[in-house]
């Protein structure tokens, strides 16, 4: 009750103090106490069999979260069996493990209300598990069984495959999925990164392909594990020791990353759909994580199309002209091979040419004129001051550290992130734009029923390729 009194008095005093001046002042006149913030520490250790473990304790709630990464991505899929890594992920999760049948796996997970997902990315197979502290032994035991003794029960593999086929069959229902796939295939043409699973390639995957994939990649020396929540190091070490100690791996064969072939000539790719709005994606090859322009490009991203309402694309196309609801751009930083630069928007079929023209105009401006001091300050302040949000969730802290180690980022990446951003000048942004942003060499994907596409292609000097109506059965 004592506390109540204090609050009431403080409240009244402040109210009394400001009743005379309710006129609002511009928020720029406010001043703020400095924010003290240190990078949170993550514990790191390695098991004898090679598993690298990252731990962040957080005892607020009786929950533990784990994420594991294996160096086993879809980039390794044979082109005629594209979808292998993805089918492997879903079969490990759903086709039985250890002493449990597929149904028993599900009922165990559900009885302890655990969340478990396994997914494949370009360079990694990623697993996420969330459970209550009290269920650690059972939940992590099941996880260990999936890694060490998966069943690949043929019936459940078939089920996983059929569900995957159905989702491929339905890809064309969504303009954004269709546009994304069309663009990525075109920009990575001739490379594994540009090969997408089709009905045919998914049907070609055999059960033994899954077993071989598992033997080859799911090994302790190829595993990184991030753990956060209500668990201390000793408990974790005991648990992992008990479940994983006797698991040994083969030394991995050295795998060379196939370099990207030269990019295909830019084109305008039209996927016709009878809908009132066209999805526009514009893209080109971009950068890798070790590019010296990385920080200049982060600033460029914010100013061009990554800074939401503060970006040029948003202000010109949405706010000033009302031509789109969403419009954006970004350099997706390639972890191992160059990523893509992608700019996108959706607009009614009649204004496609106008929007494409404006997007191109804004990109060209980035390569012609230095950005203004105001824009530079805004972008840098925003990126630097929001850095703290990379650490507001204990699991994000520990899984981010794991990802940085997994992909071989420099040790001082986080420590020096802000100072490296702070050092970026308008000149750097211009130079980076000139080196990396090439509007005339970009491929344009249109999904919808745009007006006069041939004229637009001609005007931009691009060949128009009609991709025809997409149909999930074409691969048959």
């Amino acid at each position: 009750m004592k506390k109540c009194w204090v609050v009431t008095l403080v409240g009244l005093a402040l109210l009394a103090g400001c009743t005379l001046s309710h006129r609002m002042e511009h928020p720029d006149r406010l001043t703020f106490a400095p924010l003290s913030f240190e990078l949170p520490k993550v514990e790191r250790f390695q098991l004898a069999n090679g598993i690298q473990v990252f731990l962040r304790e957080d005892h607020e709630l009786p929950l533990v979260t784990m994420s594991a990464m294996f160096d086993a991505g879809s980039i390794n899929d044979p082109p005629d069996k594209s979808g292998l890594a993805q089918l492997h992920s879903s079969a490990v999760r759903s086709a039985g493990a250890g002493d449990r049948s597929a149904d028993e796996v599900e009922s165990t997970l559900e009885r302890i209300a655990a969340d478990l997902s396994i997914n494949s990315e370009s360079y990694a197979t990623v697993l996420n598990l969330s459970l209550q502290t009290a269920d650690l032994d059972e939940g992590v035991g099941l996880l260990a069984d999936m890694m060490r003794r998966p069943h690949f029960d043929p019936q459940r593999v078939e089920l996983a495959r059929r569900r995957m086929l159905e989702s491929i069959r339905r890809e064309a229902d969504s303009s954004s999925v269709l546009a994304q796939k069309t663009l990525v295939s075109a920009l990575y043409q001739g490379h594994a990164l540009g090969v997408m699973p089709t009905l045919e390639t998914v049907k070609a995957i055999k059960r033994e392909d899954l077993e071989n994939f598992h033997r080859r990649f799911i090994r302790p020396d190829n595993m990184w594990l991030a753990v956060s929540g209500d668990i201390d190091r000793k408990t974790l070490e005991n648990l992992l020791g008990h479940l994983f100690e006797s698991w040994s791996g083969v030394v991995p064969s050295f795998r060379q990353l196939e370099p990207l072939p030269l990019a295909a000539a830019p084109a305008m790719l039209l996927v016709h759909k009878e809908i009132p709005q066209t999805t526009v994606l514009i893209g080109q090859r971009g950068i890798k994580k070790d590019d010296p322009d990385l920080y200049a490009l982060r600033v460029l991203d914010f100013i061009l199309g990554g800074g939401s309402f503060n970006s040029r694309l948003m202000q010109e196309i949405r706010t000033r002209r009302g031509l789109a609801y969403s419009v954006y751009s970004s350099f997706q930083v390639g972890r191992r091979l160059p990523g893509l630069f992608v700019a996108g928007a959706e607009t009614k079929n009649a204004t496609v040419a106008e929007v494409v023209g404006l997007m191109r105009q804004e990109m060209e401006n980035m390569t012609r004129e230095p950005v203004s001091e105001d824009e530079l300050t805004l972008a840098k302040d925003s990126l630097i001051n929001s850095f703290v949000f990379a650490f507001d969730d204990s699991h994000e802290i520990v899984s981010q550290t794991m990802r940085l180690v997994f992909y071989g980022y420099p040790e001082d990446y986080l420590d020096r992130y802000r100072e490296r951003l702070a050092a970026v000048t308008a000149k750097d942004v211009l130079a980076a734009a000139r080196r990396h942003l090439h509007p005339e060499a970009q491929t344009i994907v249109l999904v919808g029923d745009p007006e006069h596409p041939a004229e637009l292609a001609k005007q931009l000097g691009l060949p128009l390729e009609n991709m025809g109506p997409f149909n999930g059965d074409t691969a048959n």
Binding site: K3, C4, V7, T8, G11, G17, C18, H22, M24, E25, P27, L30, F32, P34, L35, L61, P62, L63, E106, E110, R111, I112, A113, L159, R162, R163, E166, R170, A172, D173, K273, I275, P276, Q277, F309, N310, Q315, R318, T319, R320, R321, G322, A324, Y325, S326, E346, T347, L378, D381, S382, I384, N385, S386, F387, V388, F389, F391, D392, D393, G448
Partner: protein, 489 residues
């Protein structure tokens, strides 16, 4: 002024209620309610400012307005978003006059194209002139510079929320920007934003088969209750919204008496009360939202609707049900888990694993929670199986639920799942802030959340059977089918 501290309210029989211990509450004399959860593990906080006004509070003639206002309230105030409000004001009035005249002309029976194009030119010229006064998205700029993330807003049937997460030393910035928005929002760039919303509609509905199917499901299941209308509005509704309507609606309802704020993160409760009091405390209470008087009459027979579109077939089946805090609503939460959540759920087991008729199944409650709503089953057939086969299999499962009691292990599993999921939802500052303002607004009390486990724990196998029997009838059913274009009989 009432300061209420909520230490463990439930000297509970089972386990401590983590939520009730953490929420601190303060109600200001003007009706504004503040909820705070202090959590000092990172120097950040999330703010949800939720106004209990949604599309359900619109009537014929202003449909789409709540969502439109959500957009317009990002356009600034008398001090933000303008270079000189005094000089800008007459221009805003001139734009409105031209826009109104143009809208009138567009609706008149015999449109003179010359007059129309003259007015369009005039409006365009005024808008060009207006640009000189506008500081584009200034609030967004200020929040960004100070490290804000997730600056956004959303409108639902029941409410509108304005959200931002900031470094913890920027509480006053939030209070200054948001109280200014509540008191002095200026709805500039009206006609351009109306075009943005038409693009949003094309994106989420007119070019999106899932959006269209859902829209038709609601418009068919509800015949008179405003839950039948899309939040964004029908295209012709959006085209005819006027600045005056928006201002009047805003001044009446976007006020302290209809507002609840949740601050979660590195915030001190006493400081938060003082800060919110200083910036919002003097604002006039405003008019309480009257609530919807219209009651949807009982459905007297199955309704079916088809959407023909260039997409693979799908199916949604909906049943009318009461909303929270009715006992049956808790039973439906249990049914939702039993039927449609996770891989041990009955629909997944039967339709996806055993019969392999469907590739995906899920269940959800929609479209809002302030008024009686729907329990919906969403089913994706697996080629070459048809919607008819999937629909038939669904009814078999619903029938089983109403005839055979659920076993204890299943009930226990569901209760445990609901409890642990609630625990998980406490992890993120922004998620928790959202839940608190949501339940305060739709249930009238955030404590709905802390009492939830106890309610669910008391649901019995007989309850499940009785509710299934009562609501899963063909009379109470609406079926919406997405049919691939060119495949109609």
């Amino acid at each position: 002024m009432a300061a209420i501290f909520l230490f463990c309210l439930w000297t509970s029989i089972c386990h401590a209620q983590p939520l009730a211990e953490k929420v601190q509450e303060h109600i200001f004399p003007n009706g504004l309610r503040l909820l705070v959860v202090e959590r000092h593990n990172a120097p950040t906080f999330s703010a949800y400012l939720t106004v209990g006004v949604g599309s359900v509070d619109e009537t014929n003639g202003d449909r789409g307005l709540a969502h439109f206002l959500e957009h317009l309230r990002f356009k600034g105030t008398e001090i933000l978003g303008t270079r000189n409000f005094t000089a800008e004001k007459p221009l805003l009035a001139a734009i409105e006059k031209a826009g109104d005249a143009l809208d009138d002309l567009r609706r008149s029976p015999n449109v003179d194209p010359k007059a129309m194009s003259a007015l369009e030119d005039r409006l365009h010229a005024l808008q060009q002139k207006h640009r000189d006064f506008v500081v584009t998205d200034e609030a967004s700029n200020i929040y960004a510079r100070h490290g804000g993330v997730g600056y956004n807003a959303f409108t639902s049937k029941d409410l509108t929320s304005y959200i931002i997460s900031l470094p913890s030393n920027k509480l006053e910035l939030w209070a200054a920007v948001e109280s200014d928005r509540m008191a002095h929002a200026v709805l500039r760039e009206f006609y351009t934003e109306r075009d943005v919303i038409l693009e949003e509609r094309r994106r989420s509905y007119d070019s999106n088969p899932d959006g269209l199917l859902y829209e038709q499901l609601l418009a068919t299941a509800f015949t008179v209750h405003p839950y039948r209308h899309p939040i964004i509005g029908w295209p012709s509704d959006i085209r005819n919204l006027r600045p005056r309507q928006a201002r009047e609606f805003m001044h009446k309802y976007y006020t302290p008496v209809n507002t609840v704020i949740a601050l979660v993160g590195a915030v001190d409760f006493d400081e938060a009360v003082a800060m919110v009091g200083r910036y919002f405390g003097h604002l006039a209470a405003g008019t309480p939202v009257p609530g919807v008087a219209t009651v949807e009459p009982p459905q007297r027979g199955e309704r079916r609707v088809k959407v023909v579109f260039d997409a693979q077939p799908k199916l949604e089946v909906a049943f009318h049900k009461p909303t929270l805090p009715s006992r049956d609503d808790y039973v439906f939460d249990v049914i939702d888990q039993l039927l449609g959540q996770g891989r041990t759920s009955r629909l997944y087991q039967r339709l996806v694993v055993e019969k392999q008729l469907a590739a995906e199944v899920s269940t959800y409650v929609a479209p809002g929670s302030r008024y009686p709503n729907l329990f919906v089953c969403h089913l994706v057939p697996r080629h070459p199986h048809t919607v008819e086969e999937v629909e038939h299999a669904l009814y078999e499962e619903l029938d089983r639920l109403s005839r055979k009691p659920v076993n204890d292990a299943d009930l226990k599993r569901v209760r445990n799942r609901l409890r642990v999921d609630q625990l998980r939802s406490l992890k993120s500052n922004s998620g928790l802030a959202g839940m608190l303002t949501y339940f305060q607004t739709v249930a009238g009390d955030w404590r709905y959340l802390s009492e939830y486990d106890r309610q669910v724990a008391s649901v019995t196998a007989e309850d499940v059977m009785a509710v299934a029997r009562k609501y899963f009838t063909s009379e109470n059913r609406t079926v919406a089918i997405l049919e691939a274009k060119g495949q109609q009989p």
